[in-house]
Symmetry: C2
Subunit: 558 residues, 2 copies
Amino acid sequence: MPDPASASDKDMNILFIMYDQLRFDYLSCAGHPHLDTPNFDRVAARGVRFTNAYVQSPICGASRMSFYTGRYTSSHGAQWNGFPLRVGEQTLGDHLRRIGMDCWLLGKTHMKADAEGMARLGLSPDSEIGARQAECGFDSWIRDDGLWGEGPDGFYDEKRSPYNEYLKSKGYPSENPWSDFANAGIDENGDIASGWMFKNADKPANIREEDSETPWLTQRAIEFIDQAKGRWCAHVSFIKPHWPYIVPAPYHAMYGANHVPQAVRSDVEREDPQPVYGAYMENKIAQAFQREDVRQKVIPAYMGLIKQCDDQLGVLLDHLEATGRMDSTMIVLTSDHGDYLGDHWLGEKDLFHDPSVKIPMIIYDPRGEADATRGTTCDVLVESIDLAATFVEFAGGRVPDHIIEGRSLLPWLEGRTPEWRDFAISEYDYSATPQAVKLGVEPRDARLFMVFDGRFKLIHAEGGFRPMLFDLQEDPQEFHDLAKGTAHAAEIDRLYGYLAQWGRRLSQRVTRSEDDIKTMRGRSGRKGILPFLVDGSEVPEELTEKIRGTAPKRYVGG
Amino acid sequence: MPDPASASDKDMNILFIMYDQLRFDYLSCAGHPHLDTPNFDRVAARGVRFTNAYVQSPICGASRMSFYTGRYTSSHGAQWNGFPLRVGEQTLGDHLRRIGMDCWLLGKTHMKADAEGMARLGLSPDSEIGARQAECGFDSWIRDDGLWGEGPDGFYDEKRSPYNEYLKSKGYPSENPWSDFANAGIDENGDIASGWMFKNADKPANIREEDSETPWLTQRAIEFIDQAKGRWCAHVSFIKPHWPYIVPAPYHAMYGANHVPQAVRSDVEREDPQPVYGAYMENKIAQAFQREDVRQKVIPAYMGLIKQCDDQLGVLLDHLEATGRMDSTMIVLTSDHGDYLGDHWLGEKDLFHDPSVKIPMIIYDPRGEADATRGTTCDVLVESIDLAATFVEFAGGRVPDHIIEGRSLLPWLEGRTPEWRDFAISEYDYSATPQAVKLGVEPRDARLFMVFDGRFKLIHAEGGFRPMLFDLQEDPQEFHDLAKGTAHAAEIDRLYGYLAQWGRRLSQRVTRSEDDIKTMRGRSGRKGILPFLVDGSEVPEELTEKIRGTAPKRYVGG
């Protein structure tokens, strides 16, 4: 039923913008010392910036499936990149279309279709239902996952690349211009200098800036918005600032070594590290980011990519303003996870230190109800699954809380203070990684869980490894693993209690809502199920009328 | 891949016989003092009787969905009667057909189709795929759930009843002969004496014995077996000895008050009972079974129903022997849960005392590998979900342990002693019951969990109620709730640790097997994903060949 404080009666839309691997703290509104992002700040100034937002998993695919289903990774099951989302799992598209809002995809999802499950149910990928199943519930305006790497075993992503086709149409002479131009420079010999190699990160990508990935998708978004009819949610999902770390001119030259923050790491972290953390510290990307020369080449490129994202966000915002859409469009800016960039001796994401698991989360809500909170920050514990609930409520629906495990953020946007969660959960499944091989862990045991209560962060590891504990109040840099000692046993027990409570959560009773169940209560008696009658006097006559019948023929003696 | 010790290369079949609400201890092989069940004993003498077998939920629907999926109720989500099994959830039928064994249903499943989910995926119930989805993965030979009660709001079960149609074809003059004849006697005035009323339990059902439910389904089973081609699993699922408690002559007169065991109950149980238990003790059926006159009328009828089941089992076994099928047919005898019959001041099932949650589990394995264990008992902790795994392995398949959570019992049948579980879990969702209303519990909090380690049984209740603890070694009758005191805090903590471990289990990663994941390990590098290269020297040249390319046209200065 529509919520009066919702957008149901207006023609409100949702622009759900996701960046890939954007750290929470690489924005000027989040306090970055050198990076100026006036357009992110512009949305923050008109909305709310949530300063404690966490992803359900610090890895693209699993995290995105949680954004799109509103469910924890252990609930939807697509717990790592390339693990298909099981057929029938409901998504934003299912929930929003049910209440009259279209749900479109532009860009990346990292969704892998459950081809086996679809075949088992006879769903053709060509059918509308099959196509939505294969695209994570979205109608696909243009999908490009933006990772067109190719090796001896072929392409990482075997789908077609609309972006590569665009580049070819623009005359870039290559079978894979994404690899040869958009993500490569030119070396001193005039040869391709691949963006996969950090030594090339300071070179300009050999592509016209307007043809690079971020402007390309921004233009597709503008085209979508200009033609869109009815109420829509558009997931505009950029691949950048995700690696390969290389950016076209002029962004390649905007930042230098003098803008690279010191790595947040301490020798104490390398003393007898928890084994899974230790294995990650020794992997190739961690070893690369432990080199200062690498950080000084890569981070300026990463900053340049973010600066380009900010400029293109400006283009999009200007277009919304010019076309009078700012008062009818909710704008969300977030990311699927962060990037260690050498912090904690690590590269990439994967683990649960804030640079990896904490994300930017800025929401502009155009409704008058949200005027009171414009330009403020909110430090409650937000989980990425909260967006699905927020969108459903914003679109005028009632959150199906037997399916969506997140909670609507609208109350916070309206300046109210609802009862809220005591802890946030994040999970990481490293079963397919070299670290699992190195540690000799079976796939089912290669799983990590984070429990964060706003101050203490516990990391539990299956497979018999010890946990980790950080006190972010006393040790905001997360250097000191308090689980090594015994002094914090009580905190560890308390957080394990939260994890156990979460483990008992109701996550699969998805075919009956709380209201359905309340309606069922006691109904069976009125449908003739009376297993408690001694002589019938226990219940009103109407319940037994049908079983009293009339005089029957006698079939047996007795 | 086929297991040499399996039936894959022979023409082995599975006869999976389930009784409804049959207590584990109402068989002579299980030590019942008055009930003689030579045919159950006959299977036990040729197979293994598992003496510690537990259902995943002591309620028909949820328990059966666990038998059929091999998954805990919190994993498949159909946690109570009438909660549909979500579309796409895999069942025995999916797993067995995949390895060349048909999977047929004869009788009751209590399955409710996920009509909304099927519609969402465009599955027609008329299609083969749709029909299997609607029948819990079985091909339906004949389905009859055997509860044709009718009240002011209509029938409890709105499907057609093949059994009622059979009775009508036999000339029983009624629109609902199940209610008016099969489950009713005749009173002193010649009127219908409904089996719903316990006062009528000692009357003979007004039906020819051969037309009553158990013989009727037994004949359908024989018809099925005689025509079956190829390898099959047949789920022959009887409604009896489930209520209504009334049985045709001569069974109605075989047992009397002198054969009724004393109720296993103690006044100490009524002193400050755990609140959920307390609410159940006060419900209508409990109050009825607290009356000795009710027990003395109902239990002889219940015993008569079991005796009839045993005689009909004899008919079926004789037919298998006469047709030479005993050496090619695995026979399983079990039940979906027990029946309190007044024990612990309760009627029906629902809670976790042994009379409710423990089941008979007798398995005859015709293979020579099982000769060593014939006529033995096995006291390891068995869960009902183990049957699905057992059947897949018996049929020559490899158990898909990323989907099926149970474990194959074949090693035990072969006299081996595999590493085994430390605890059994059972769950009960009472969200739709009057007890939840009485206790003022929201649907999501009306859930109970049992953890049993073979000696201590912990019952955890969501919703803030205190737990219960029983020591079955010191208190086999489960009278003394040790959670009331503080003396057993350590045991309670230990069992809560098991529950927490279970809560973190891997249950939804169903689209990737353990082997799939091992195959994925490290593969992305060979598909062009190289986010760790400083200069390329880190990896063999073949990995970087595709990104080195050839001299490109210069698009931008740098």
